[in-house]
Amino acid sequence: MMARAPRNPVGLGAEPDLNGSVLDLRTYNPLVKVLGPIAAMVVAIGSRDLLTPALFAALALALLLVGGRLAVRTLGGLLLGVTTLVAVMTVSFGIWTDPAQVDHTHALLRLGPLTLWSGALETGLATGLRVAAVVLLALLSGLTTHGADLVRSMIAQLRVPYRIGYAGLAALRFVPRFAQELDTIRSAHRVRGLSGGRGPVAGVRRYAGYAIPLLAGGIRHADRVSLSMESRGFGAYPSRTERRHIPFRLRDGVLVVLLLAAAPLVPLLVHHLTGGTP
């Protein structure tokens, strides 16, 4: 059956009430939540110590915990996921780090030719924390924003042409459909006996074989969607009614200042705390 329900690919399932409490992140302007944390992400990625990314991650997590209004399952998954991510990256980067750079630190474990240096673990942990900080900062918008609201605020505040915004929204709905279709094509090719062969060459050939039916289906679907959109007046006028207005309010100003200020303030704080020695 083609008709299996694809899941909403991004963000909230329903549009949030924008007139809710100031402590509810969902009521904030999506652009603030998407663009505001970018400066902090850049600083976090550029940091080399442990404390800076940890503080950014903690700040993002605190905002999500207080204002995210997350479901218990989402919250559990989030905490577990971030912890696992940091742990896995710590260990794996710890093993892969060039020993020449860290062999002045303690050797924690020796397994045959393999030595686990404490310095390597530290590098791994720092990397893990940087990634976690970026992910959590991105989830500030990801977990509290409805995709259509983001498009609406892009049109209202960034003056993005609505044709581009809504075409993007329609394209987002293709994602789960594509995933499902790829799945079907893979099993169809397996039935035809194409699963044979291992290694990268066979793998590339296999995926090249999926490309044609996937593209053919995708183009046909996109064609049909565009026929349907045009038939419903999409693009008839230079503007369209936006039933739902996404405002930019005082609270949005405060949040954006807070997020922008965090970018330089967190490293300053770290510098102050550690006295300049990482």
Partner: protein, 576 residues
């Protein structure tokens, strides 16, 4: 021929058209008008350009889909070719075949508002229209849901609500029920009947589910093979007075008419010809005497020895945490043609895929063609159990039609001369001989479907499983496919077919397995199933038209068991 009809002010008018669309036959000098409050059904043989014609009504052809058009289509006094498509949204509303391809927004309400918003109506007006449209189609309570969570019928009703919210005087629907299960078809037709009854709109409908569609339209326009308009008139007059001509033309007719034509050969003259099952039932009851129903040797009885082709025991399949199939037990004797039916989401496809090992069932739960799909490798299995996916394109792996067929034999190490012989044989049997050097993706829909079945059977599997092979296809192509399946079945292949098509079930299946909520609720010959109204309702099915007609007979009790055209008497038997 040109029919001059009184012309209503702002309604679209199809002028002389001559559309060339990708080299296919297409409407040729078609002229007709659709008036407010009138529902027009567009009929014609497969590929005559019905869809092409609908696409011209708001200028999608030639403005978006490239084609050469001679003549004009005028809407509200403007020629569609000279203005952008979106500017006609308030004049012509379109509903297409695929409900999935008409969803843009994330909630039902947003989706309905999308059109009026594009027309820059004030927000309050947008909401008023959206509410009215959603209440009309019965989806107001679900306005906050994601459209993808609606059933197929629900999504198509949503597409109609989107069209209604535009308040266009003309509603054009191109095969709106082709992708739906029987319940969905019924929902959409009931809705269309209400819309037509308001008299506020003109409706132009292309539809292959004719049996209920004829009840909701006033007029029929018929195109021939070359896309020329040959008939235009009231539905009853056109269909009954020209039934023979339409049949010769390859136009599909309502089952009631087909039944009456068949009975005419048996000397039973039902005049005037009945259009609907109800009329057929009444006409039969009005006959004082009827011959006994045909007792012809069942053409679909199991062929050959009575081995077991498929055995399913205690099969439970979960998707994530949700069980899709619960403890299924099923035995399919060799040589049966089994239809697996049930509402969308009942687990039909999952069951079919488990039988064919497309998704590995748990060990020991399935035996098909003598092996456990969970224990043998894919290549061995696909030689024993063929599987045909719903979308033929998914299965194509080669760049030529003949390579596509040779592929399965080649990977099994069949010698080249034997291979060439078998490929040629299958090509000619499936009518693909002239197309052997084409790319499979460039075939027509019906040809692609035939090729996908051919690739599955060329390895001579003992069991052939098909997932909704007639989905989205018109009657002619479906009939073509069924002939192929019946031939395979006659030569001893066990065929398992997942379908919503009750006509297919009634006429061709030797057994029906009905699923609901992941459980088998019936496993019986079609005639027994169609006689049990309660069971049908639980399985989300509707009896085929012939069974609906005979189920109500008072005078001829022995006829109540007649559920398909093949049961009707033909030939020489004349009532005494």
């Amino acid at each position: 021929m040109r029919h001059e009809l009184p012309q209503h002010g702002d309604l679209p008018q199809h002028g002389d058209e001559n559309v060339v669309h990708y080299g296919r036959p297409s409407p040729d000098e078609v002229s007709f008008e659709v008036r407010r409050g009138e529902a027009v059904l567009l009929l014609g043989p497969s590929g005559c350009g019905k869809s092409t014609l609908t696409l011209t009504s708001n200028g999608l052809i030639p403005n978006v889909v490239t084609a050469q058009v001679a003549g004009t289509v005028e809407v509200s006094g403007r020629s569609v070719a000279d203005h952008p498509v979106p500017t006609f949204a308030g004049d012509v509303a379109m509903v297409f075949q695929d409900p999935d391809a008409q969803v843009v927004m994330a909630t039902v309400l947003d989706e309905v508002c999308f059109g009026p918003e594009n027309l820059r109506l004030p927000a309050s007006e947008v909401l008023v229209r959206a509410e009215e449209a959603l209440r009309t189609v019965g989806l107001w309570e679900r306005r906050h849901d994601d459209p993808s969570h609606l059933s197929g019928g629900g999504r198509q009703r949503l597409a109609i609500a989107c069209a209604l919210a535009l308040r266009a005087p003309l509603l054009v629907l191109d095969e709106p029920t082709a992708n739906l299960d029987p319940v969905g078809v019924e929902e959409v037709h009931a809705l269309l009947r209400r819309i037509v009854a308001t008299g506020e709109r003109g409706v132009l409908l292309v539809e292959h589910n004719l049996d209920t569609a004829v009840e909701l339209v006033d007029r029929v326009v018929v195109l021939d093979h070359n896309g020329r308009l040959i008939l235009d008139g009231p539905v009853r007059q056109v269909l009954t007075e020209h039934a023979d001509r339409l049949l010769r033309l390859g136009v599909w007719l309502p089952q009631a008419i087909l039944a009456a034509l068949r009975l005419r050969q048996a000397g039973i003259d039902l005049t005037p010809l009945p259009l609907t099952p109800t009329e057929l039932g009444a006409a039969l009851d009005a006959c004082p005497v009827l011959p006994a129903p045909a007792d012809a040797a069942d053409p679909v009885a199991p062929a050959g020895e009575a081995g077991v082709a498929v055995e399913v025991s205690g099969l439970t399949v979960r998707r994530g945490r949700v069980p899709v199939l619960h403890e299924i037990d099923l035995v399919i004797p060799a040589g049966e043609l089994v239809a697996v039916v049930g509402p969308n989401g009942a687990g039909k496809t999952t069951l079919a895929q488990a039988i064919a090992g497309v998704t590995r069932p748990p060990r020991g739960t399935v035996r098909a063609a003598g092996v456990d799909p969970a224990r043998v490798d894919g290549r061995t299995l696909s030689g024993l159990v063929g599987f045909v996916f719903q979308n033929p394109e998914h299965q194509f792996v080669a760049t030529r039609v003949d390579d596509e067929l040779a592929h399965g034999l080649r990977i099994r190490g069949v010698a080249e001369d034997e291979l060439a012989r078998r490929v040629d044989d299958v090509l000619s049997r499936f009518g693909l001989l002239e197309l052997r050097d084409r790319h499979p993706f460039l075939l027509s829909g019906g040809q692609k479907r035939r090729l996908s079945v051919a690739t599955a059977i060329i390895c001579r599997p003992q069991v052939l499983v098909l997932d909704e092979p007639t989905f989205g296809q018109d009657r002619q192509r479906a009939a073509e496919l069924l002939t192929l399946l019946r031939d395979l079945h006659r030569t001893g292949t066990t065929v398992v077919v997942v379908t919503h098509d009750m006509h297919l079930v009634a006429e061709h299946a030797s057994r029906v397995v009905a699923l609901a909520h992941g459980r088998v609720i019936a496993d019986a010959p079609p005639a027994d199933l169609f006689a049990d109204a309660g069971l049908l309702a639980r399985a989300g099915l509707r009896p085929p038209p012939v069974a609906r007609a005979t189920g109500t007979l008072v005078r001829h009790e022995s006829w109540r068991a007649v559920t398909r055209l093949a049961d009707l008497p033909t030939g020489t038997a004349v009532p005494a």
